[in-house]
């Protein structure tokens, strides 16, 4: 009896972890960021964002190759990678977490649903817990996830020298656009 119960519970645990693992995957997500400062505006785009969602629980993981960000000025791109992000050392920015109410979203009906995403954002090898609002759009069985949020450079240990404070904003606007 005892053994049976243990086995049952273990099987239950295993099963719930493995069940209904419908995976949504994209490799061409779009993330871009924007810095507005008195002297200049900086904008960069990456179209090589990989993301995966397990629909059953709304678990999401996102991975961005930091070097894939493209700037208008290539010199700026070099400074971004070399002076600020240390991309050779920390080549990836990641996010793991959950979409809070994915289960409430009616996948069979087209529409735009508001949601929040919560989890761990790792940039420049520093991890912070973040919670951001976004939308999930369902359109003919496809999902479009959009979110927009701000990060503080100091939260991720990215230091801007005092003489460049007018060039680089301490707060960066980040836009995420994932199509599944």
């Amino acid at each position: 009896m005892k053994n049976k119960l243990i086995i049952l519970i273990f099987i239950f645990g295993l099963f719930s972890a493995l069940s209904a693992q419908t995976r949504l995957i994209t490799k061409t997500g779009h993330v871009w960021f924007y810095s507005h400062a008195p002297i200049e505006d900086i904008e960069a785009h990456s179209h090589q964002v990989a993301a995966i969602i397990l629909t059953a629980k709304g678990t999401i993981a996102v991975m961005i190759p930091v070097m894939s960000f493209e700037f208008k000025k290539t010199l700026m791109q070099e400074h971004f990678n070399e002076n600020y992000m240390q991309s050779a050392k920390y080549p990836k920015a990641t996010f793991t977490g959950g979409i809070n109410n994915l289960s409430e979203i009616n996948v069979s009906r087209n529409g735009i649903y508001k949601t929040t995403v919560e989890g761990d954002l790792t940039i420049h090898n520093v991890t912070n817990h973040v919670k951001v609002a976004g939308t999930v759009e369902v359109k003919d069985g496809k999902y479009f996830i959009k979110t927009k949020f701000k990060v503080l450079l100091k939260d991720y240990n990215i230091v801007v020298e005092s003489r460049f404070v007018n060039n680089i904003s301490p707060t960066i606007d980040i836009n995420v656009d994932l199509d599944f």
Partner: protein, 300 residues
């Protein structure tokens, strides 16, 4: 029984949450496995397309225009009367543009010998890790110089071709780590007409350069072009060019300050016509200013 059930439930729950936790890491691993491995190119091996006088392996990427203003002043050992050389200056103005990521062109005018030059630099290999493992960057520089001096040889025909010299250079560079970069850049210079019979038309030199970053935006550079002794006829007049430099990079500018035994800023001039002797203090202060403009539109 009741206690054991609770214990079992607790164990089961622990196991369950472990599985959930492990999932986050697993998901990232899954992402890693499904995304194609990208190529990570080494960037910023040198701060500019020049180490000091000579070219580095760096190129202007596509759509980027580099406007360069370079000065080399007179001899430091002339003392205060000439304000340590600063009273006279040799100028070099250049426009350089990246046609594609792997090819750049430039046209420039140097006041030494009133030279107009044009060059093309090809990036053939780029140092990278990841999907492509490449230990070094390799570039090829092809340059032509046309001297504009008034004809100084009354006994020779004033032919246009006699004013031309060519430089061909292979530039092999490696960024060893974040701070240290090394470069080996042998060069062949062909002069259509030389001053004296003992001068050779073809000159070969080895080139060595290094930079060490002293902070995020500054670096210390050394450059040495020892001319192959076989073609080193003017032992008593000409020297090997040796320069020390310090780069300061601000937003879109790179300032390069140097001290060198040459005033030449084209390959032909500093490799084959350097006369200063370091031991005698025949040195020149100089600077390069590079300002990069972006002429391309941003991809959305």
């Amino acid at each position: 029984m009741g206690f054991q059930l609770k214990l079992t439930c607790l164990l089961g729950f622990c196991f369950f949450s472990l599985v959930i936790q492990a999932q986050d890491a697993n998901l990232l691993n899954t992402l890693d496995s499904i995304t194609p491995q990208s190529v990570q190119y080494a960037y910023g091996t040198f701060k500019s397309t020049r180490v000091i006088n000579g070219h580095s392996n760096e190129r202007m990427p596509e759509g980027q225009l580099d406007v360069r203003i370079e000065h080399r002043f007179g001899l430091i050992n002339q003392g205060y009367y000439n304000f340590f050389g600063l009273d006279e200056s040799n100028t070099f103005l250049s426009l350089e543009y990246g046609i594609k990521d792997w090819v750049m062109v430039g046209i420039n005018r140097a006041s030494v010998d009133k030279t107009v030059s044009g060059f093309t630099k090809f990036s053939i290999l780029r140092q990278s890790t990841g999907a492509i493992e490449m230990p070094v960057s390799l570039s090829v520089l092809l340059e032509s110089n046309v001297e504009g001096n008034k004809w100084q040889y009354p006994d020779r025909n004033n032919l246009f071709s006699s004013r031309i010299a060519y430089a061909s250079q292979v530039i092999i560079a490696r960024k060893i780590n974040e701070n240290l970069s090394l470069q080996f850049s042998p060069i062949w210079i062909h002069r259509n007409l030389v001053h004296a019979v003992i001068d050779k038309n073809d000159m070969f030199a080895l080139g060595f350069a290094t930079r060490y970053k002293t902070s995020r935006r500054t670096s210390f550079n050394i450059e040495y072009y020892p001319v192959n002794s076989q073609s080193w006829d003017h032992q008593n007049t000409y020297r090997n060019s040796f320069s020390l430099g310090y780069d300061i990079e601000t937003g879109g500018h790179v300032f390069q300050f140097m001290i060198s035994n040459t005033t030449g800023m084209t390959e032909k001039a500093f490799v084959t016509e350097t006369t200063g002797k370091w031991m005698n203090g025949d040195l020149h202060i100089g600077f390069n200013i590079s300002r990069v403009f972006s002429l391309k539109k941003q991809k959305q």
